[in-house]
Symmetry: C2
Subunit: 313 residues, 2 copies
């Protein structure tokens, strides 16, 4: 019976959980704030992992982290909200400290693995996962394997250009999907329209995607338009992804995907309208994710399982 | 020693060649027109294959064909220039007639395989191939395997949206890469500008990409602008592809890729400018294809070799 410690490093909290074999209910599960006064986030990470370690040996520690990283070599290039982790050899440092084989993956990539094995994507061999929240991330499964690419950077689905010369993206480019359809992008569009004098129950100022979603559910025309606009762009991008990857399922995760049927139906309708050939829609499922907030943690579990099942990869 | 018959079905000619083992110089090589008065193209196909069959048994016939097709089941959904081939079970029909195991692939997909094993992509495990001519097709190699997707339709790289509401694409959608950067798209842009009164050594009327390329080489400002415009859009799309697939090499095939350094350099510079993170450019090669007109035939050879090497796939 294998022991796997799965870890999900977020900007505000770090979660660690001990799993045995293929059981997705953890034996132990702990969380801690990523940051605390004057403390090194790496030490906080080690402490929360140690707090779930059993007496018996652990086979693998599997870590999910945001941001560009190198899964082959276990190096985080940079990660939002932990400014000190630049070219940070996380796997080597954890292995040196804890003496347990460790692996690392991009959290959106791993969420795709989680949905593939335990969520909405079970039974699918070619899967596309898109998480739409503060940013837009993704993961692609090709023939039951996570698409990593030459340097482990593949699957950055939020960074496809959908509107050349459009709004500035977090990555510094313009008009990416993330810049027009993430939560902040939806809120920014509403603010822009409010500034232009459009009527709405929403008031100008700091706005979240969730507030816009609530206004849309109350029938606010501007809020509804903002979600329709985002859904339109997402459908255009999803059609492009279908042409490239031809998956049998597209799974939508992240908070914005929970914004109600207006958003999802617009996205589906836009996808159908933008597809080049009906063949891409045949037997295609477009659905929402099932793992919710646990996507990163369960994804890390699956990465750990695969590490033990397919040691050569 | 394996005998492989490779076949490349084009709109104007069908080529068939007999290869032995891993030798890329064919033992026999024949071509025939795809169409002749009142003759069935399938019979013309069978005849040209029979003309290269040796006395000894053949292990596999491997066919490259354009257009949407199902490589798993060997069915051509539809193919340009052969109007009768709709949902055409080519593999079953050839196997019934010739009693030789047969396989089928999309010609741009197979050209990617050809470049991977025998062309510019040798030694690369994650490769992206883009053919830019009358249309824009593509093929993606992921971890030494051709990306096919759930129904064998993956790799339609010409059908990524680069200019929403842009020019009409051959597929019926708007603003796809093919609609702004293929040979006919470059010629159409020049004609549009000529109609608006722009000076040029080119004259309004039926124009080809090649004529525009020649004018560009003579320094014609409008022709140069047309290639720069196409190269800009291609760079935007290639950056998107890098974010999705993170290949170690991008190979450019097709006639338009031979249009000179202005086009290729604009494309490379535009790619660099549109990429979200320098990590995607590290050790990346962007280069032209090596197999030229033989890409489809050599690609079919490689598909045949793989069929024998990896029978389970």
């Amino acid at each position: 019976m294998a022991n796997i410690v799965a870890v999900d490093i977020g900007g505000t909290q770090i979660r660690a959980a001990l799993f045995t074999s293929n059981n997705t209910t953890p034996i132990h599960h702990k969380r801690t704030a990523t940051h605390a006064d004057g403390e090194d986030p790496f030490e906080r990470l080690v402490a929360v992992i140690e707090s779930v370690l059993p007496a018996e040996p652990v086979d693998v520690i599997s870590v999910a982290a945001p941001g560009p990283l190198d899964p082959q070599n276990g190096v985080i290039f940079s990660t939002p909200n932990i400014p000190g982790w630049i070219e940070f050899p996380l796997v080597a440092k954890l292995e040196e400290r804890l003496r347990i084989p460790t692996c690392l993956g991009n959290d959106a990539n791993l969420a795709a693995l989680g949905e593939w094995r335990y969520g909405a994507g079970q039974g699918h061999h070619d899967l596309l996962y898109l998480t739409i929240s503060t940013g837009i991330g993704g993961g692609v499964i090709v023939k039951d394997q996570l698409l990593l690419g030459a340097r482990g950077l593949a699957g950055e689905l939020g960074h496809i250009t959908v509107l050349p010369d459009g709004p500035l993206c977090s990555c510094g480019q313009r008009g990416h999907l993330e810049a027009v359809a993430s939560g902040p992008a939806i809120a920014a569009y509403v603010n822009e329209q409010l500034a232009a004098g459009r009527p709405s129950i929403l008031k100008p100022g700091p706005l979240t995607g969730r507030q816009v979603a609530e206004a849309a559910q109350q029938g606010d025309a501007l809020a509804r338009e903002a979600f329709i606009r985002a859904g339109e762009f997402l459908g255009q991008a999803v059609a492009d992804f279908l042409h490239m990857f031809n998956p049998s399922i597209v799974i939508l995760g992240g908070g914005v995907s929970q914004s109600g049927s207006l958003f999802i139906e617009t996205l589906k309708e836009s996808t159908r309208r933008h597809v080049m050939d009906a063949g891409f829609l045949k037997d295609l499922i477009i659905t929402t994710a099932q793992l919710g907030d646990n996507a990163g943690l369960i994804g890390a579990l699956v990465q750990g399982q695969l590490k033990l099942e397919r040691p050569s990869l």
